[in-house]
Symmetry: C7
Subunit: 272 residues, 7 copies
Amino acid sequence: MGIFGIEVDVTNLINIGLKIGLLILAFIIFIPIGKKIIERTINRAGSNQKISESRVKTLEKLLVNLFSYVMIFVFIVMLFAIFTIPIGPLLAGAGVLGLAIGFGAQGLVSDVVTGFFLLLERQVEVDDYITAGGYDGIVEELGLRTTKIRSFNGTLNFIPNREIIGVANHSRGNMRALVDIGISYDENIDEAISLLEKVCAEFQQDERFKDGPNPIGVQGLGSSDVVLRVVGQTENGEQFGCQRDMLKRIKEAFDEANIEIPFPHQVNIQKD
Amino acid sequence: MGIFGIEVDVTNLINIGLKIGLLILAFIIFIPIGKKIIERTINRAGSNQKISESRVKTLEKLLVNLFSYVMIFVFIVMLFAIFTIPIGPLLAGAGVLGLAIGFGAQGLVSDVVTGFFLLLERQVEVDDYITAGGYDGIVEELGLRTTKIRSFNGTLNFIPNREIIGVANHSRGNMRALVDIGISYDENIDEAISLLEKVCAEFQQDERFKDGPNPIGVQGLGSSDVVLRVVGQTENGEQFGCQRDMLKRIKEAFDEANIEIPFPHQVNIQKD
Amino acid sequence: MGIFGIEVDVTNLINIGLKIGLLILAFIIFIPIGKKIIERTINRAGSNQKISESRVKTLEKLLVNLFSYVMIFVFIVMLFAIFTIPIGPLLAGAGVLGLAIGFGAQGLVSDVVTGFFLLLERQVEVDDYITAGGYDGIVEELGLRTTKIRSFNGTLNFIPNREIIGVANHSRGNMRALVDIGISYDENIDEAISLLEKVCAEFQQDERFKDGPNPIGVQGLGSSDVVLRVVGQTENGEQFGCQRDMLKRIKEAFDEANIEIPFPHQVNIQKD
Amino acid sequence: MGIFGIEVDVTNLINIGLKIGLLILAFIIFIPIGKKIIERTINRAGSNQKISESRVKTLEKLLVNLFSYVMIFVFIVMLFAIFTIPIGPLLAGAGVLGLAIGFGAQGLVSDVVTGFFLLLERQVEVDDYITAGGYDGIVEELGLRTTKIRSFNGTLNFIPNREIIGVANHSRGNMRALVDIGISYDENIDEAISLLEKVCAEFQQDERFKDGPNPIGVQGLGSSDVVLRVVGQTENGEQFGCQRDMLKRIKEAFDEANIEIPFPHQVNIQKD
Amino acid sequence: MGIFGIEVDVTNLINIGLKIGLLILAFIIFIPIGKKIIERTINRAGSNQKISESRVKTLEKLLVNLFSYVMIFVFIVMLFAIFTIPIGPLLAGAGVLGLAIGFGAQGLVSDVVTGFFLLLERQVEVDDYITAGGYDGIVEELGLRTTKIRSFNGTLNFIPNREIIGVANHSRGNMRALVDIGISYDENIDEAISLLEKVCAEFQQDERFKDGPNPIGVQGLGSSDVVLRVVGQTENGEQFGCQRDMLKRIKEAFDEANIEIPFPHQVNIQKD
Amino acid sequence: MGIFGIEVDVTNLINIGLKIGLLILAFIIFIPIGKKIIERTINRAGSNQKISESRVKTLEKLLVNLFSYVMIFVFIVMLFAIFTIPIGPLLAGAGVLGLAIGFGAQGLVSDVVTGFFLLLERQVEVDDYITAGGYDGIVEELGLRTTKIRSFNGTLNFIPNREIIGVANHSRGNMRALVDIGISYDENIDEAISLLEKVCAEFQQDERFKDGPNPIGVQGLGSSDVVLRVVGQTENGEQFGCQRDMLKRIKEAFDEANIEIPFPHQVNIQKD
Amino acid sequence: MGIFGIEVDVTNLINIGLKIGLLILAFIIFIPIGKKIIERTINRAGSNQKISESRVKTLEKLLVNLFSYVMIFVFIVMLFAIFTIPIGPLLAGAGVLGLAIGFGAQGLVSDVVTGFFLLLERQVEVDDYITAGGYDGIVEELGLRTTKIRSFNGTLNFIPNREIIGVANHSRGNMRALVDIGISYDENIDEAISLLEKVCAEFQQDERFKDGPNPIGVQGLGSSDVVLRVVGQTENGEQFGCQRDMLKRIKEAFDEANIEIPFPHQVNIQKD
């Protein structure tokens, strides 16, 4: 079967086909077993060594992910072996093909390098609420190449690690609850602040608050209102709920005390 | 026919022409047959092995796409063979031409590498609703080089895989339905919230909702209204319909209870 | 005539001049003939093989374009031959000049690679309405290096193919017609929707519509109006006409039924 | 005169000075003569061969520009010859200096490559009105390295060709004249459209219009007006004048027919 | 166990496994001891040498961080030694793999180089309030590769040093307190300024102020007010508190003196 | 004095110190003399050869600038000679250091290449009013590496030539004076235009105007006014003055003729 | 102590430790002495040679900075010598490590090259008020690698020199003071201008003004006011103070002459 000078050897083809089949079979059997073993080992080690649950989860998902990549690498190496293509010289060569592949693979290396440091420096753990690479949400999995973030609207975002340039981790330590409230230019500022102090005193009992809240003074003179600011430190994850509760309570307290939260004002001059 | 020192051999030209004709004919006959075989094999395997339908579709389209590229590659190799141009040294060389081609082809390699991981990590499947590379819509085909996304306005977008830097997949798990509703500063917040709770109770029966909806409190104090937020989890794909139904129902409930959804307010001061 | 050590041979100069003249003449005669042949061959093949007209146009323009580039390439090679400058070593060398040329030509290679895939993957055909590289309009010609797009305002845009990163093709399949209409907060939503359904029923007879149109509910609560949305699928290219007709018909229906489409509202509070 | 080991040969210096003087003189005499010859040849050829005037202008300016660059190149080569610095090895070398120059000159090569294709593909001719590289205006000169565009405010813009990524050429074919006109929500749409048709009928006689103008329907429902659109095709360059005339005529026709073009509307609700 | 030509030596595998286990154990024991030693040495040296506390903190965290990286490096080198892979040639080679790694690691080198200069030039110390790389907050740790910044809302940001292009350090020297206050167009500017001077005189007693505050005149004529500016220098970190106090005091002083801080003005002309 | 294996030769050090001192002295004496000579030569040549004054200024500043750079280059070469470091191999080598320097110096080469073409193509001369690289103002000096632009607010901007991508030169030819003036929807357009023609007739006598000004018609229908446009060509540099004079004169003419220039309009609908 | 094949020589370790200690000690003693010497030499030279004070400051800070970098360089070279690692081959090599370092260090070289030209071309001196690299303020120190700018709000900004692409130096020559003032459409423009001329005449006596100020005419017709512009040249640094004084004086003059500075106007049309 020599067409255009290319000779094809049929028995050789069948031989190769069989080998590939065997290889695929071996991997289909081996991979799930490998993953199970990793998961069990990690979980047992985690419960023995008193490592935090989220760290265990991070490690488990990472190792399974790492295992998959190693398996794919082994698979490709074996495939090359079946076709008796030597991999070494291919990787060492520097021709046009090498150049193209080198540049193409560059992103892959960056992914792995960044992923490695994300893990090593414990910048992110599974279940952290982070903002990175333009996405924000809860980390679902930290892989060598890709990080999965679940947005609050339910979307699952896949981000190549190299895109994670800076990480803003919102799950490390107490968070700030901040409320800006505008009062009328006609109100007495001192009265409003002392009322805010009373409301804050109630919240200081709330154990979600680690520090404050306290009114810190006049933040600005708006076009229609004098803006007062209240700031406190809450437990991680409770900041939004606390802010909502403070907004409601302050609004009600101002209503009771007849302190006006003003609408936009405009002075009209009539001309004929 | 020697012009300017370039000798042209006519019989050789005819010979080459015939060979090219034969090659094209062979490919025109072979390619559709190959595609049919792939489609049937995948479909049969899919129905036997109980793989999800969208996975089968993804694989089928991918394999047909992969098959096309392999055929083009084989075609080009054979064409070079007809002209007796050796490909190996061409690819290994590193002259000016090689440099230009290496850089030009770099994008192609990036496309294939990214496409490979999109598939391997199951970031995207056919029929998923995703946002990627500045486009959003339903995935119609996942190719090695290009991904086709159908926008909701009917446009078909072709995106080179390398442009797909992060993928936001909106078809993985429950989605959030969120309604922000403004009430007048004069209304009683507690009454409004208890009314919202009644409305939410109705929707909690709705089986499209997996969690909630529930009013979570005062989201903010707007310039003319107190903003209340209602949040729930719905089945994937039902979030927009649910939001629309909630908007309608809440509006009607507020009308019945005479709770005002306020227009923008302004305080006018007359001056002469 | 030896100035500063550079010897100029007059007879040689005349000889070269004559050769260049002959070369230009040959090309001036040959090129239009070649183009005519290509156009005729394609057109005949197209009408015989029942290929769609726009595909025939695409191929015809592409082959003429390709022919021009091959001719220029041949011309340059012959010019170098006349001056007896060897091209091979020039392209294989890797000095400063080679580096500069390699980088400069890199864009050219990217253009051709991208153009090749635009055609191969049938992303674009002549007469398609597309958005690509920041321009949008009707494709007039698809070349190896440049794509010509005619904007709706009559401008002809030339885009190097490498700038066409993603293609949004608006000529593939049915398009969505979408109308958002605001009604007053005082109107009954159900009445308005049933009126929209009546209007939609009329349009469902219209054969430009492939699916719908149908009112899908309350899209949002605006600052002054309740926004209702109507969505339908139309034949490709008819979406804008359909939207215009729907806008007119819905406006008239609302007028007849005395449903108000509200102007912006504002609540004024007088203060002295 | 040996300072710090550097020996300076005075007679050699004088010799070199003289040679440079001669060289400059030769160029000062030769360049204007060369330019004149080019201009005359092109003009004569243009009037004989019936080539369009703007093409002749483009070619004339280009060839003069090309001639200047060739002269500069020759000048530099001769200068190097005077100092007996060999150019070949300098360009073939790949040391630090070569690297720096290679990168620095890369922009120059890109300019020439892009300029070559701008001309070859006839994307731009002198006197075309184009938008390119962030500038827009009338092309004054197309050079190998730089394109000169005269803005409408009189500014002369110099753009390196490599910055001309996509070209929007507004001087190729008919242009669209488009007028959007808002009518009051209280007006009868059909009456307004039939009035627009009457006005359009007048303009259809105007020979500047190649197609239309015609009213195409309700473009949108604005916050205070119903927007009607009129579209037509005019001769190239007449689109702005036509639009101005249509605006004036439509405004006057609406005034005569007492159809109101509304000011922004607002509904005011008085509250105490 | 020779599969596909790859021979696996079991005893060798066990041997390697044991060595890796020993290596990990050695590091688990050694690293915490090393860190403790560093911390104690630095703290003792700091208290002896009278180095500022924040400098001691910076150095302590940096050295611990540096120690970790050195340990990881040693660990990797030893791991390679166990597998008897020579590292030298690997790093000196320049094949495809080398290229990919070289580019991938480039970011790492930039991180370390930038980090080194951040420390050397004392641009940043632990506990400084800085803005860098798009984040702002208090520096928690300065590492060779990463800087940790705690935002005021509690978020902990990890920034690779190479992203820190310019540093704005807000903890070096006195800070400006600036208040812009608008008065009515009808007020006497001189009176308002003399009142501001009285208020400023009170604050000049305040020891938080290092210079001023003083009113510096009419900053602008706004659409509804004449804007006066007051500027002063405060101790580092006190600028926001001072501004808040000044805002409150000036507002109260203006109220007492019946100087109006105007709302937006508009002239209305009634037309029928 | 051998410390850590580095032997330092004192007499050699003194010798080198003396040589450096002599070198600096030679340059301090020679440079001002060289600059004076250049300035005089250029000025004399300029007045003899009737070259435009701004061209003379450009050349003078450029040559002085070029002279400085040549001197610095010579200085560095001599310094290397004193330390007996061979420059040739250093520049030809391609090690790590060379790479770093090559990339670092790349910007310098780009500056010089761009500067060379800015001058050669006479894109900019001293005293031209240009916009380039994000700055605009009057050119004060054109150097090989840097261009100095004096902004109208007095700031002196230094721009590396490579940043000058496109140049908008506002000092080449006549400039446009353009006035857009809004009239009330109730005014007669023809009357307003004939009044504008009368005003324009006055300005056409003004010799600052090279063409026009003339009213060209209705530019648009604004939300509250009909916009008329007047356009003319003025001498370079006079466009802003002319526009100011036209604005004043048109405003006064409209006042005399009782043509209203309308304020923003709004239709108010009262609702209870 | 041979672990995993790595032999560690204890006496050698102690020897190296001692040498490092000695080295550090030598530098700790030598560096402050060196800096003192530089500062004194510069200051003495500055007062002898009548160099401007800011130039002296610039040079002093630069030389100290340069001295630090040279010391660090010497320190690193000696450290390598202690470990007997040859630096030459390391820098000349071109393996993976070299590549990574070369790219990483590229920024450093750019910093030094840019810094060198900033100084050489005297673009910036200590105490100049500049805008560069997105920061603006007073220059505190010009280093080879970094420039320190003190913002007006007290922040100290560290900018790597390579980020300083263009420099806007606000401390070179007179600055413009510009006041735009709006008058009512009902006012007589000539009267207002003559009043402005009177006010300007007062300021022309002020020696802070180098030229003007003068009213230059009608700058524009705003939506509610006719805008007049006054422009003058002031001493460097006085422009903001002058503008503030002019604003105050013009406002008072207009009040006295009863010329109205109008609020935003709106025409209201009542509709039922």
